[in-house]
Symmetry: C2
Subunit: 361 residues, 2 copies
DNA sequence: TCTGCCTTTGCCAGCGCTTCCAGGTGCAGG
DNA sequence: CCTGCACCTGGAAGCGCTGGCAAAGGCAGA
């Protein structure tokens, strides 16, 4: 048996320079090349308006920086300047198309403002959200956005507040908590749907929802309240709670149809559950909307592409995102949230498609 | 007109302490409280195995740290230690359910390894990808993952490589480039679909795809190659290129059906386009699969929930993600990629559902 | 009792950047 | 010719952390 020969082609992985040992050029390097000091480099590159630099020096520094491909070390700069240009985003979900779209929108708009999104994915798990707050540390992100409600995330919320940080919540319902919040007007959205269905002659309604999360809870309460206002009888059997996903919607509708008193219309707490319910209805041989009407909430893109296309309520994602970022910028600037701004509500819009129709018979 | 009175309730926003001025406790603070030096605090909290700290000191430091709620400043630590525990992820898309699922999976697995994902959203725009590389700086992220192919992202790629960083690409097709890549075996996937359709008696096939991106390109080439191997005639009209989304799939199928020579089966380059195509077929009054078979690629969750459910090929997301992270960890550790590991391919699986059936007539 | 070693801890430098402060130059006015 | 004032620029400190080096203390062996 031959003793193992050390590899001979180039530096071995364990001995050679590590990939990550690579250091970019520093301000000192640029300074040396330009024949100035590091502080001058910093001033030139930051346009420090207070002090003027002579045009020639300015030019020389820029040339040197360009030649070396220099860009300031983001960590060092942040450590010094207290700004990271990063926004932490803790999202309840990311695979849900509604959230995906929201994240995408936020990301685009944030970039336009010179910020990046650091995505913390809570996976519908409050303990992970808490863990996230540790990572999306006050000192790592200039601000934090919370997207979607998490059950029992009180601890996470407290932790964030303890750090006295710029933080804003989205789509978590009008929580009584101390975090400024932006919501779709969930009650109004449900109202639009109920009016629509009532006008179509539906009197037996059911609601399927995905748990007791803040905004979902609001929709459920609004459903109950407005049904009763309209004189509709709603029994506990008419409300079904299941997982907040396609399978959950599917199961919930199957169960509803096994009950003795079948609804003529089913409202889902969100589009994803509605798509699951739609599939279930079709699998059961029901015609939609001839036999049963189905509605969603959110208006995800897929809602246009089912057969039949889904009647739903559109959440104003663009507007909410824009407002959230504008607001967060001000918090980051140091403005304290005024009382009046603790909660904002943006109106949704009814989108009528083919999954709703006149009540049968 | 009264002169405006300065607000009098509490410190005004512009004068008061800024929200972001808040400083957490530092190692010095802990040291002072525990009656030791800052370096001792550092050693205790980092379990620096080399030097032992007396149990009593250890205890005192931990108590002090707990009391102050101290955690080391991530930026300072990273600046010193050269590790940020952050992985940059530049994704071609985030709203596409396949990518959303992939991102979610990566995020979960990365967290288990002690890393966070910083999401850079390229929005199918190569110039944004380049911009991302600047943000997801070598010094900001320990490593970078590229998810999905971007047309003409050569500049971005070069920039990343110039920084000699740990970087890995996913789902971009077997590019000849110098970046290690992990791919689904797209050719094999297409082969499975074609065999399936051929067995069902289909002889007139069409392909709709969303552009000339790497992995999509591979699928298209495989479609062409295997069709010809099977003796099928494929004309340019049988291949339609449109946007890589639901609308694109819809339009592509409508156009296909306007052609004189209608296919009996349509293969889409991914599930999203397939869903659009499915909707179009149903809108045109076609029965699926009686009149036309439709297949996708990816196996997103929604594929199970259309009516009829979509026959497709499942990409092994879990496995690819796991392999990508394991590999990236080693790159971050400093191992240089070996020649053999420049490209890995993971086999996909055929998932037969209801959108495919025997060829008509 | 003294020497020497080992354990435990503190000091200090420095990661790369920004910014206050002070110093140096040039030019105009006295 | 000297003084003063702009205007530019360099020096140095320090953000919070880590790690090498060395010193202080304790104890055992001679």
């Amino acid at each position: 048996m031959h003793p193992e020969q050390p590899a001979d082609r180039g530096p071995s992985a364990s001995r050679g320079p590590r990939l990550t040992d690579h250091k970019g050029p520093t301000a000192r390097d640029v300074a040396r090349l330009a024949g100035v000091s590091a502080s001058t480099v910093s001033r030139v590159l930051n346009d420090s308006g207070t002090t003027l630099i002579s045009p020639s020096t300015c030019e020389r520094v820029r040339a040197a920086a360009a030649e070396l491909g220099y860009s300031p070390h983001p960590l060092a700069r942040a450590l010094r300047g207290k700004h990271t240009q990063l926004i932490g985003l803790i999202a309840r979900e990311i695979e849900d198309p509604f959230f995906a779209h929201f994240i995408s929108t936020l990301s685009t708009q944030a970039r336009a403002l010179g910020y990046q999104i650091v995505l913390g994915h809570a996976q519908s798990d409050p303990s992970q959200a808490l863990q996230m707050t540790a990572v999306l540390d006050a000192r790592h992100c200039d601000g934090v956005l919370l997207l979607g409600d998490l059950r029992d995330d009180g601890a996470a919320t407290e932790e964030i507040l303890r750090q006295r940080r710029a933080v804003l919540a989205l789509c978590r319902g009008q929580s009584p908590g101390p975090i400024p919040t932006i919501n779709t007007d969930n009650r109004h959205g449900m109202r639009l749907l109920l009016d629509h269905l009532y006008t179509l002659g539906h009197r037996r309604l059911a609601f399927i929802n995905g748990g007791w999360l803040g905004d979902i809870h609001e929709r459920r309460e609004a459903f109950l309240e407005y049904s009763q206002l309209s004189g509709l009888e709603v029994t506990p059997d008419d409300i079904r709670t299941d997982s907040n996903n396609l399978d959950g919607g599917y199961r919930a509708l199957v169960e509803l149809m096994q009950a003795p008193r079948r609804p003529t219309a089913v409202l889902a707490s969100d589009d994803v559950m509605a798509l699951g319910a739609l599939k279930a209805a079709l699998d059961l041989g029901l015609r939609v909307p001839a036999d049963i009407s189905i509605t969603g909430f959110d208006d995800i893109e897929m809602a246009r592409f089912t057969s039949p296309a889904l009647t739903t309520v559109r959440q104003p994602v663009e507007a909410m995102s824009r407002q959230a970022l504008a607001w967060l910028m001000r918090l980051i600037q140091g403005e304290l949230p005024s009382e009046a701004e603790q909660a904002a509500t943006v109106p949704p819009a009814l989108v009528i498609r083919q999954s709703t129709g006149p009540a049968p018979r």
